[in-house]
């Protein structure tokens, strides 16, 4: 197979660079890492001020068309915001709301009763699909709906704790459907997670009232598309996270002295960070490719699905390795609670599981590009 893949734009536009600067400034101001560290053990790890900051910058409605009050941008721009959120490990419901819920709603016919408008205004929503689900296969439907009444349980719903509205895929008498449920109508219980900066909750619905948005194939297509978008956008979070880990590590190697010289002058350590840099450079290329293909072709296109799977298969390992090297090359201080390295390590390790592990993405690719296992 040797196909021409069409013009792919892997560079950042001026608008994207401006957006990055604005998001980075806001996060530096409202979510410096000591604040993240302080909040994350409380029962309110997500700071409303950070979310408001994202809303004020228009970052939460980037992918929402202008006619619904959004920025009319694409998932290329959303990816830039995700890079910055990864750099700062800020606890926000951005993945759940601005990525997953938004992608699901964008896939619906547009008569969806103000959902897009609400997203653009900054209403936090969550898509009730367990984190850990890989694109490429339909998630099991564990909630049933009968005459507008929903019953069932969904575990590991990302960002549900701060959502006002839940989008719930269900099984009905004649197939699948997607419902909108007021968060207050369900019960949320959260168990401890490795990554305290991204909270997961188990959603229990017991004859909860819901509004049917769409049914049948369109509902499942919306969920599948959202998972592809989630996988692609998470690659940019992983990129930003890895890049920040590398920066912290390099700063430490320049300033820390042992044996009478900066430890960054030892070749054994130089080569390790240089290898991380090489893999981060590649992570940027695959993450930008995934965002660009998504923006150009939509989440159902084969090329967009392939690009998202390549991005996850590659970036998951890059982020984990960058965070692990950050801990190791910081030595003892990197193993302490008071240093931010563990925030990045925990996010990176959890991200690598969030939309299916790298091996699942490789298996998906094997199907998509006709390289069967046997």
């Amino acid at each position: 197979m040797s196909e021409q893949l069409g013009p792919v734009n892997l560079l950042y536009s001026d608008v994207e660079t401006d957006l990055r600067d604005a998001v980075r400034r806001m996060l530096a101001d409202r979510s410096p890492w000591p604040a993240v560290l302080e909040r994350m053990e409380t029962d309110k790890p997500y700071d409303d001020a950070v979310w408001r900051g994202l809303v004020e910058l228009g970052a939460t409605g980037l992918a929402v068309p202008e006619e619904f009050g959004g920025a009319g941008a694409t998932f290329r721009e959303v990816a830039v915001a995700m890079e910055e959120l990864g750099r700062s490990v800020a606890p926000t419901p951005y993945l759940g709301s601005a990525v997953l819920a938004t992608a699901a709603v964008l896939a619906l016919p547009q008569s969806t009763g103000g959902v897009l408008e609400a997203l653009a205004e900054g209403t936090v929503m969550a898509l009730a699909v367990p984190l850990g689900t890989a694109p490429g296969a339909d998630p099991p439907l564990t909630v049933s709906a009968e005459r507008g009444s929903l019953t069932g349980t969904v575990r590991n719903v990302a960002d549900a704790g701060s959502a006002q509205t839940l989008l719930v895929p269900v099984v009905e008498a004649d197939g699948a459907a997607l419902y909108r449920v007021d968060a207050a109508a369900g019960e949320l219980t959260s168990a401890p997670t490795m990554d305290l900066t991204r909270r997961l909750a188990t959603l229990s619905l017991d004859a909860a009232a819901g509004e049917r948005l769409v049914g049948g194939d369109e509902a499942m297509a919306a969920v599948r598309g959202a998972l592809t978008v989630g996988a692609a956008m998470l690659a940019s979070e992983q990129l930003g996270l890895a890049e920040r880990c590398l920066e912290m590590t390099v700063e430490h190697l320049k300033s820390r002295h042992q044996f009478g010289r900066p430890i960054g002058s030892f070749q054994a350590l130089k080569h390790r960070v240089a290898q991380v840099w090489v893999s981060v450079a590649q992570a940027r290329a695959v993450a930008r490719n995934a965002a660009d293909r998504l923006a150009a072709l939509g989440p159902a296109a084969d090329e967009a699905v392939i690009a998202a799977a390549v991005a996850q298969a590659h970036c998951s390992g890059v982020a984990v390795r960058a965070a692990e090297e950050c801990v190791q090359l910081h030595g003892g201080i990197g193993f302490t609670w008071e240093h931010p390295a563990h925030l990045y390590l925990k996010r990176a390790r959890s991200d690598a599981l969030a939309f299916g592990t790298a091996d699942r993405h490789r298996s998906l690719l094997a199907q998509l590009v006709d390289l069967p296992i046997g």
């Binding site: 197979m1 040797s2 196909e3 021409q4 893949l5 792919v8 734009n9 892997l10 560079l11 390099v250 190697l253 320049k254 010289r261 900066p262 960054g264 002058s265 030892f266 070749q267 130089k270 080569h271 960070v273 240089a274 290898q275 840099w277 090489v278 450079a281 590649q282 992570a283 940027r284 290329a285 695959v286 930008r288 490719n289 390549v310 298969a313 590659h314 091996d359 993405h361 490789r362 298996s363 690719l365 094997a366 590009v369 006709d370 390289l371 069967p372 296992i373 046997g374």
Partner: protein
Amino acid sequence: MVDASELLRRVEAFLADHDPGTTDRLDFLHARFDAGLAWVAYPEGLGGLGAPRSLQRVVDEAFARAGAPTNRPESIGIGLGMAAPTILRFGTPEQQRRWLRPLWTGEEVWCQLFSEPGAGSDLAGLGTRAVPEDRDGERVWIVTGQKVWTSMAHRARWAILLTRTDPDLPKHQGITYFVCEMTDPGVQVRPLRQITGEAEFNEVFLDGAQIPDVHRLGDVGDGWRVAQGTLMNERVAIGGSVAIDREQGPIGVLTRLWRDRAELRRPGLHGELMTSWVQAEAVRLTSDLFRQQLATGHPGPEGASIKLAFAKLNQEVSSLVLEVLGEEGLSYGDYEMRRPERVDLFGPSPGYNYLRARGNSIEGGTSEILLNIIAERVLGLPQEPRVDKDVPWKDLAK
């Protein structure tokens, strides 16, 4: 400045006067050079028009469409990519007029005499001596030493040569850059047989070779700075290569094998296959990103990673092909000593590909040195303490 449409107009006018179908190949190339349509970024009178470098493609494509003869750039890469930019930047007007035209047309082939058996990664430690002598009132340099890894030396008329002219200075300071005539009786070329059985490269022995002082490039003792210019051009030339498609190159050999030979597929190899496939995409997209940056005139440091990543990928993939082949991988085409004109890195046989790929992380800067360069120049990490920095070259341990 000359723009794309003006260039196309000139190509058209040139083709009207020089029918590619009936004009002698060399006549055509001479005329193209003289019309400034050879390398358009070069100055007028030296084969160019002072146009932006990015417009070269426009001209090359226009000539290709007309079926015009080329200067066969693939076989004169060292001249075009390394010698010419150095001559342009450091050469005298006489040197530029003498050398650039036959270099571009391919009438005179160039090679590079830099590496030595004792100076590989540490090129500045080179020991080939050049000593000045007075011959009938003219200054000539007598050169003695040994160079290695010289491709095309057996075809070359000229070489760019690094020598040590002052062993009493620290290593970077006592170096002088020359152009050496390969037909000099003091120059002896021997093929260097390599791991694959063939000989792409040569050893070059310099035993009293004579170089007139007018063939010096740059000042005496300034050779290291001149060489940095040459090596920078090598990197630009490598980084500026064209876009590649998915599954082009060694990964395509592997995927074709997997698809075409179902009986060879084993579950235990499938994970490695897909890991390599993803890695090939990552490397392809990274070079695409770098190419897009170059096109905007703002190349990022990504270029430094590309050669490193390609070397690793080629090595892994060519090894995996042998694993997939299993028993068939035991055979090898033949080890007959040949002198290939062009290197096909993804070519002839799986065994050859595996062996040739081992060189990818050594040639053109070892992967270890490239990692040092990334660490020091991109990430800004401090150098190792340099024990040889202020020591006269003659006193260094060798």
